[in-house]
Subunit: 199 residues, 2 copies
DNA sequence: GCATTTAGTGAACGCGTCGTTCACTACAGA
DNA sequence: TCTGTAGTGAACGACGCGTTCACTAAATGC
């Protein structure tokens, strides 16, 4: 009715449409209220096509999160202001979390511990989310170290991941992404004092 | 069969039994696989008694989490070794997360964003979890400040919450509580360098 | 250009869980 | 001992899950 192009999609074409539909549904109703039939309907696909690809909701959502994770911008050129760079990247992450991707992550977290079988897949998704962040934050920090603005110990993994991890913690436990004020507090109270070359 | 005391409990007595049953179920099957009927059966109660008290699973689990949160040990006497104190408290939190309380928190997080109606109740639970931690960590830090081991700026809220927040982030995104090695890394790479009075 | 194979559709199904209802029963207070 | 209150347990309709199947559109082979 809506589309007079009554064509029938297949393969990757259809898969992408399902992912988009799943993410839109996630954004609208949240993971807990996500219905397979609603995803199928929005994608104008049959429920059977969903179950042919993924065994259940959790797998579909993880796959959708992986799909969306590839959209993350990873080529970032650091300026000569570490704090400003951090703000830019953190705002970018926060915006991402406030969209459908955030709800996908929330669903993934909620499901962890329910099925210890899929630990490997969960680990894979974690890596895909973390890796681009590590690259960007490490680049910023290295640039700061080169200019003497940042102490070299700041390149340790727990320090590189500190800002995004605190952002994610806020998002998960609050239900919405961190506002600018929280980003500022994280930077001024925690991150900058920790990485600054001198006090 | 088990209890030949075929007595019928009421009020708070019954409520406590339901909480205990819910937490045991959570620990065994996880939030995603939690069934109201299983909780009722384990508590030797009728399903109607559950729905008379809470409108749905999410409310029951939040209530159970609140109930369990009152068990948290809050009277902690700091030693003269800040790092050792942090290790002790962080291990205590990690052990708590690996039990039924952890799964309750995971369920709560997964449900956030699904029903914006109960934001107030969610906020209340967050406070109840956070407050005792703030008290303990602030006490440790104050003691450190008094002895000149910790810089006074470490009493800012984001710094006080830093260690438990990173623990919680690890637990939520990994599916299990942080092991000793992770606690050490958090302390040696992040917390101690941040709070130390001198470098 | 036609026949065959592959993949998607949509409706129907059985099943399990939800949340509710109701007749019955045990306990508490007077 | 009587009465009101609260809990029990079984049954119920509704709903979403995950599967099945006859049908159909697209891709592939000839």
């Amino acid at each position: 009715m809506t589309d007079s192009t009554a064509s029938r999609r297949r393969g990757d074409d259809l898969e992408r449409a399902i992912f988009e539909a799943a993410l839109e549904e996630l954004a609208e109703v949240g993971y807990a209220n996500l219905r397979m039939e609603a995803i199928a309907a929005r994608a104008k696909a049959g429920k059977a096509s969903l179950y042919k690809r993924w065994p259940d909701r959790a797998h579909l959502v993880r796959a959708a999160a992986r799909y969306k994770a590839t959209e993350v911008e990873t080529d970032f050129e650091p300026s000569d202001d570490v704090r400003a760079d951090f703000v830019r990247v953190m705002r970018y992450i926060a915006e991402f979390q406030d969209g459908p991707f955030g709800e996908a992550i929330r669903g993934w977290v909620g499901e962890l511990g329910a099925s210890p079988a899929d630990e490997a897949e969960a680990e894979d998704l974690r890596q895909r989310i973390e890796t681009p962040r590590i690259m960007v934050f490490a680049k910023i920090l290295k640039h700061g170290v080169d200019r003497g603005e940042v102490r070299p110990e700041a390149l340790q993994p727990r320090v590189v991941n500190l800002a995004p991890n605190l952002l994610t913690h806020y998002f998960l436990t609050r239900g919405h992404a961190a506002p600018q004020q929280v980003i500022d507090e994280i930077l001024d109270q925690v991150v900058m004092p920790l990485i600054a070359a001198e006090r």
